[in-house]
């Protein structure tokens, strides 16, 4: 199996080197490692990578240049998997990324998650495989917000939803919560029913998408 080719964008030189090392260590191939959004777009055009990992806050404005670049790239290459690293939890950032094309192959995680190296590498692989990974903190934040339809969910169902949004399979959720897989399936069915979502989606990513889209559209 050929290795996943990655274009990496991170403005801090030290962290960029470290991340490149981490990627190589886990068998990714770093096609290019750049320091700003302009260079990122250029490198993607040049190397046509299998995956983009980008910091959101980058020069020149140090606000959301990386995110803007990612959304732009997704318009031209809808199937390009992108993992965005965020300095803070901002559900609207996640929402914007999910809005780009069908939301498949999208990762939105806090930057400090790179510290858990193996989990981070796993995240990259799942996104590369077309999965959707949303940082648990974002999900926690959405779940905590009152006056959303999430209030209808039980404590257990919220736990399931959080794991769901992290892109985990039913089997993994069952293992994490120490319940059986059919129980997880039942919980998911309840969640979809309580949120008035169509029950036909069997694919985990589509269910995550549906949930997040639904949350976003709820006026507070």
């Amino acid at each position: 199996m050929s290795s996943i080719r990655v274009v990496l964008a991170e403005d801090g030189a030290l962290l960029r080197e470290g991340l490149a090392g981490l990627l190589q260590r886990f068998g990714f191939e770093v096609a290019a490692a750049v320091g700003d959004a302009e260079a990122l777009v250029g490198a993607v055009d040049e190397h046509e990578p299998d995956l983009v990992v980008t910091d959101i806050r980058m020069p020149p404005g140090f606000s959301d240049e990386g995110l803007r670049a990612a959304v732009r790239m997704r318009l031209r290459r809808p199937s390009l998997p992108v993992v965005a690293l965020s300095q803070y939890v901002e559900s609207s950032y996640a929402a914007e990324l999910l809005d780009s094309q069908n939301g498949r192959g999208i990762g939105y995680v806090l930057k400090e998650r790179v510290v858990d190296v193996a989990d981070f590498a796993d995240t990259l692989r799942r996104v590369h495989g077309g999965g959707t990974v949303i940082d648990p903190a974002v999900v926690r934040q959405l779940v905590r917000r009152r006056s959303t339809p999430l209030e209808r969910l039980s404590e257990r169902e919220r736990e399931v939803l959080a794991l769901l949004a992290e892109g985990h399979s039913n089997a993994r959720i069952a293992r994490d919560l120490v319940v059986s897989e059919p129980t997880v399936g039942k919980h998911i069915g309840n969640i979809l029913a309580k949120l008035d979502l169509p029950p036909d989606g069997t694919d985990v990513d589509r269910r995550v998408m549906a949930v997040l889209t639904y949350l976003r559209e709820q006026p507070e």
Binding site: R57, S63, Y88, E90, R146
Partner: protein
Amino acid sequence: MSEESAAPDPYRGTQPEMGREPPPPRTPLEALRRLPHRRFLLSSWPWRSLLHLASTAAVGAVLAGLIVPITFPLLVLADAVEEIARGHSRPDWFLAALLGSGLALLLALGPLVAVPVAALERWRLRLVHPRLTSGHRPTGRGVLRWARIRYTEAATWREFAYLLLLIVVVDVLSWTVLYWFAGVGPFLIATPVITALGETVAVFPWEFDTPLSTLPLAALGTLLLLLTPYAAALAAHANAALARVLLDDRGTEELRSELVEVTRSRARLVDAFEAERRRIERDLHDGAQQQLISLAMQVGLARMDAPPGSEMERTLASVHGQAKEIIGSLREIVHGIHPKVLSDRGLPAALPELADRSAVPVRTHVNLPGRLPAHVENTAYYVAAESLSNVTKHAGATEVRLNAVLDGDTLVLETTDDGRGGADPGGGTGLTGLADRVAVVGGRIWLSSPPGGPTRLRAEIPCLPSG
């Protein structure tokens, strides 16, 4: 919002509540400019202006009589000059003596008239103008002391100048307006009736004796009468403007402009602090935070290389855990210094995020059209953060509502909790600091916190450019 303004005001204000409508006009000219014609004519302004004019005319007439003894030498001088013009001769020493004694009398006794007249005028002007304050210093007891202070004060001599202008210009103006508009106008309107009664009306150089021939006069009279309120308002305003220049306390004006300058400098200081906080946040983010993450990442990698279950693996795991904790603490500290989400995404993103951090559950309702001026966003965020932290610390509440809406040009931020109430603005709960911070940007704060709750804090922040 409407239900609140209809209810009796439950807020204890740090400043008096102001209406949502623009404040009523404070001078005849403002009334003329701002009110539609109908509303102006139906308002009290024409009547107040007319009343003021009439009293000016009366005061002027009385004063002209009063001041005759003082100006007697000058009047004789004027008479003499007239005689000279007719070809008679008067000795130079006589003219000089008249001029000298006239000026001396005027300067010596003028202030004795001017000071009480000025007091009367300030009182009278309240009919058509916001209150003016006397620029006189207190004199204490003693006639000599009084004279020494009064005769050396600029305020006294400005009042003296006003007195002269009142008699020579303002009085004449008032009489003129009264005569032509309020006097001649009604008279001309009455001419058809007068001629119908068989009298003849003479308007130089014409004479009118039939009602039909006087119709143009009546029309002119109607026009004059219609214009009376406007003429009265303008004349009253002119008088008031002159009084503001000569009778108002200059010291107050200087203080006022100094106060504006102090307020601005306070706003600049707050802006500077805010900029400094942003800089520190950026430095920490680019420096310590990145380095720590990089370090923890390396430790994470090294941990993978260590033999599983070995002493080294356990040590590295512990170091890794500690590094992650430091990263978390540093993130919180940096966020406290400056919430990047606020400068990046504005209040619509930052307030819900703030609410998510609160220990007490918060329902947020943010309805803002987008970004607001930075100093408004910063202040609003600060108010929201402080009040949520107050609720957590003191209120014993189970839920808070946080609302942020734009009311015209004003950002209205409200927190309401279901706690025990009884918050005391003077009790060191940070409320004074909040009021200060909001005052810097020209905003206001209300607190309503009856014992037993609920506690409501409302901040109004005008969304004007900084400065």
